[in-house]
C-alpha cells in the first residue's frame, strides 16, 4: 500500500478529482495549504507600498492506494494538475504500513 500526497494549484482540484475518479479512486482528503517551491512568492502593492506574498495558496491531496493502483493514480494526478507553468506542484509517494476502516475494523487493502 502507498500513501500519495500531491500539492497542486487550487484551481486544478476539480480536474484532478475528475481524473482520479476515472481510474476508480473513491475517496481522498483535501487540505488548503500555503507554501512555495521554485515558483517563489510575488510582490503586491497596497497604497503605494510593496509587500511580498511568500507563501502561495495550494491544495494538498492525500489518498491511500493499493500497490497496483499507484501508477495509474500518480499519472491521473499529474494529468489533471499540469499547466506546464512553474508552480504546478509535486506528488509524493510513501510506503503505507497499515490502514484501518473504523466502522468495520477491516484492515489493509480491503480498508482502502
Amino acid at each position: 500500500m502507498k500513501l500519495v500526497i500531491a500539492i497542486i494549484k487550487p484551481f486544478k482540484l476539480d480536474e484532478v478529482k475528475e481524473a482520479l475518479s476515472q481510474v476508480g479512486i473513491e475517496g481522498m482528503t483535501v487540505t488548503e495549504v500555503k507554501g512555495f517551491g521554485r515558483q517563489k512568492g510575488h510582490t503586491e502593492i497596497y497604497r503605494g507600498s510593496e509587500y511580498t506574498v511568500d507563501f502561495l495558496p495550494k491544495v494538498k491531496i492525500e489518498l491511500a492506494v493499493s500497490d497496483e493502483q499507484v501508477g495509474k493514480v500518480v499519472e491521473a494526478i499529474a494529468k489533471g494538475a499540469k499547466t506546464g507553468k512553474i508552480g504546478d506542484g509535486k506528488i509524493f509517494v510513501l510506503p503505507l504500513e497499515d490502514v484501518l476502516r473504523i466502522r468495520t475494523d477491516e484492515r489493509g487493502d480491503s480498508a482502502i
Binding site: 500555503k34 503586491e44 502593492i45 497596497y46 497604497r47 503605494g48 507600498s49 510593496e50 509587500y51
Partner: protein, 503 residues
C-alpha cells in the same frame, strides 16, 4: 384544468369591478362638481399662519432627512475603516465607530451645542450653555431673514441667534448640528486605528465634541471671530468674512488636526516602518471599504445640500447637490489616474480615498462656486490625496485609512479653494452669504481662518492626548497589538469561524 380557469375567473372579477367603477364614476364626478360650484366664486382666502406652518414643515422635513443621511455616514465610516484595517482589529474599529456617535450625542447635548451656538463673544458661546436649555422661540426667524419664511411675521427671541436664519424648530437645528459633530469625532477613529486603547479613544471623543469642536465651530458658524463681518479695529478687524458652507474646516480639518495629534502621540503600528522602508499592511475587506465609501457619497448629499437648513424653492439644494457629486466624480477619476501613473496600477483604496477627498474639498465651497469650478476642485483634490498618502508615509505618520490625507489635507484645500473660485452671484443666490470680496481677498481671509483653527485645535488636541497618555495610557501593549485588539480590548473576534493563517 381547474388551475386554468382561475385566472380567467380573476379577470372576469376585475373586469366586473372596472365596469362598476365606470358606471359610478361619472355620478361621483357630477356630485363633486355640484358640491363645489357654489363655493367657486368666493375669493380664495390665504391663511398666512397655515402657509407658514406648511413652509416650516417642508423645511424641517428636508433638514431632518438630510440629518438622517449624515447620521448614516457613521455606517460608511465604520465600513471604510474596518475594511481598510486587518481582521484582527475589526471588532475594535466597529465598536469605536458605533459608540462614537453615542458619545457625541451626550457631549453635544450637555455642552457642545451651547458653546458653539450660544450667544457670547467672538471666541465662545456663553449663553444657554448646558443641555440646549437657553430661551429660543424657533421656528421664528431673525430680523434679517424674513425671506426664509415670508408667511411668518414672528421675530426670533432667544440666545442661539447665530443660527436664527433657518426656519426650523430648535430640535431640528440641534440634531442637524449634532450629526456634524459626530462626523468630526469619527474621523479620528480611522487614523488612530489598530493600536489605540479603546477607553482612551472614547474619552477623547467625549472631550473633542464637548470642548474642542464647538470652539472652532463657534468662530465659524456660531457668530464668532471668523464668520463675523470684520470690525473697524482690534483683532476682529484682522479675521472675519471667513466662509465654510458645510464644514471643510469646521468638521473635516478639525477632525483631521485632532487625528494628526493622535497619530503623533501614538506612533506608527508595529512593523509599518522597518529599516527605513514603508511596509504595506493591507486591509482585510475591500468589499466593505467600497460599500462604506458609497454610503458616505450618499450621506454627503445630506451633508452639503442639507446645510442650507431649508428647502426653499429647491434651486440652492439642487446646485449644491450637483456641485457635490461633480467634485466626487472628478476626484475619483483623478485619484485613479494619479495612482495608475505613479503605482502602475489603479489602486482601489486610493480611488476610494480620492472620492472622499473630492467630497471633503467641495464641502466648504459647494454653495460659493460654479459647477465647473467644483469639477476643477474635485480634480485637484483627487491628485492631492494620493500625494498626501505618500507624504504622510514619508514623515512616518501612520494613518491606516488615509484620514489625514482625506480630511486634513483636503479640508484645508477645500477651504482655500472657496476663496480662489469664489463666485459672487452664486454666493448671493445659493449660499446667501456673500462677503463682497474678490477671490484673492477671500482666499486671504480663508487662509487666516485655516491658520487660526489649526493653531488652536492641533495643540489643544495634542494636550488632551498627552494628558490621556500620562494618566491612563493610550497605546495597547505590543503583545496585544500583535494578537489583535479584538481579543485584547473586547475579548472576542469578528470572524471566529473563519480560519486566518497569519495575523
Amino acid at each position: 384544468m381547474k388551475l386554468r380557469f382561475r385566472p380567467v375567473a380573476g379577470l372576469v372579477k376585475i373586469a366586473g369591478l372596472l365596469a362598476v367603477f365606470a358606471i359610478i364614476l361619472p355620478f361621483l364626478g357630477q356630485e363633486a362638481v355640484a358640491a363645489t360650484v357654489p363655493a367657486a366664486p368666493a375669493a380664495p382666502v390665504i391663511d398666512a399662519a397655515a402657509l407658514s406652518s406648511m413652509r416650516t414643515g417642508i423645511d424641517t422635513v428636508w433638514v431632518l432627512v438630510a440629518a438622517m443621511l449624515v447620521f448614516w455616514m457613521n455606517a460608511g465610516f465604520a465600513l471604510v475603516e474596518s475594511g481598510l484595517c486587518r481582521s484582527k482589529n475589526c471588532v475594535n474599529i466597529l465598536t469605536k465607530n458605533f459608540i462614537v456617535f453615542a458619545a457625541s450625542t451626550i457631549s453635544f447635548w450637555v455642552i457642545g451645542w451651547g458653546v458653539m451656538f450660544g450667544d457670547g463673544n467672538a471666541w465662545l458661546g456663553t449663553s444657554g450653555t448646558f443641555f440646549v436649555s437657553g430661551a429660543d422661540n424657533s421656528p421664528a426667524l431673525g430680523e434679517a431673514y424674513a425671506a426664509m419664511n415670508p408667511f411668518s411675521t414672528a421675530k426670533y427671541a432667544g440666545v442661539y441667534s447665530a443660527i436664527n436664519w433657518t426656519p426650523v424648530p430648535l430640535w431640528a437645528k440641534f440634531f442637524f448640528q449634532l450629526v456634524f459633530a459626530g462626523t468630526a469625532a469619527t474621523i479620528v477613529s480611522g487614523a488612530v486605528a489598530e493600536r489605540i486603547k479603546f477607553g482612551a479613544f472614547l474619552i477623547f471623543s467625549f472631550v473633542l465634541v464637548a470642548l474642542v469642536y464647538p470652539v472652532s465651530g463657534h468662530w465659524i458658524w456660531g457668530g464668532g471671530i471668523l464668520g463675523m463681518t470684520p470690525t473697524e479695529t482690534g483683532i476682529t478687524s484682522f479675521f472675519g468674512n471667513f466662509r465654510d458652507f458645510a464644514g471643510s474646516t469646521v468638521v473635516h480639518s478639525v477632525g483631521g488636526w485632532a487625528a494628526l495629534a493622535g497619530v503623533i502621540v501614538l506612533g506608527p503600528r508595529l512593523g509599518k516602518y522597518k529599516d527605513g522602508k514603508v511596509k504595506a499592511i493591507p486591509g482585510h475587506n475591500m468589499t466593505s471599504a467600497a460599500l462604506g465609501v458609497l454610503i458616505l457619497w450618499l450621506g454627503w448629499f445630506g451633508f452639503n445640500p442639507g446645510s442650507t437648513m431649508a428647502a426653499m424653492d429647491g434651486s440652492a439644494i439642487s446646485h449644491i447637490l450637483v456641485a457635490t457629486n461633480m467634485a466626487a466624480a472628478t476626484a475619483s477619476l483623478s485619484a485613479l489616474v494619479t495612482a495608475w501613473l505613479i503605482l502602475k496600477k489603479p489602486d482601489a483604496s486610493m480611488v476610494l480615498n480620492g472620492c472622499l477627498a473630492g467630497l471633503v474639498a467641495i464641502t466648504a465651497p459647494c454653495a460659493f462656486v460654479t459647477i465647473t469650478s467644483s469639477a476643477i476642485i474635485g480634480l485637484i483634490s483627487g491628485v492631492l490625496v494620493v500625494l498626501a498618502v505618500f507624504f504622510f508615509d514619508k514623515l512616518k505618520l501612520d494613518d491606516p485609512v488615509g484620514a489625514l490625507a482625506v480630511h486634513l489635507c483636503n479640508g484645508v484645500f477645500g477651504t482655500l479653494a472657496l476663496g480662489r473660485f469664489y463666485n459672487t452671484e452664486i454666493a448671493k443666490n445659493v449660499a446667501a452669504l456673500d462677503t463682497g470680496l474678490t477671490p484673492t481677498a477671500q482666499t486671504i481671509q480663508q487662509f487666516k481662518g485655516i491658520v487660526l483653527v489649526g493653531a488652536v485645535v492641533f495643540p489643544l488636541s495634542l494636550l488632551v492626548w498627552y494628558i490621556l497618555k500620562a494618566t491612563m495610557g493610550i497605546r495597547v501593549s505590543a503583545e496585544e497589538e500583535t494578537e489583535g485588539l479584538d481579543v485584547g480590548e473586547h475579548g472576542n473576534e469578528a470572524y471566529p469561524d473563519f480560519s486566518i493563517v497569519h495575523k
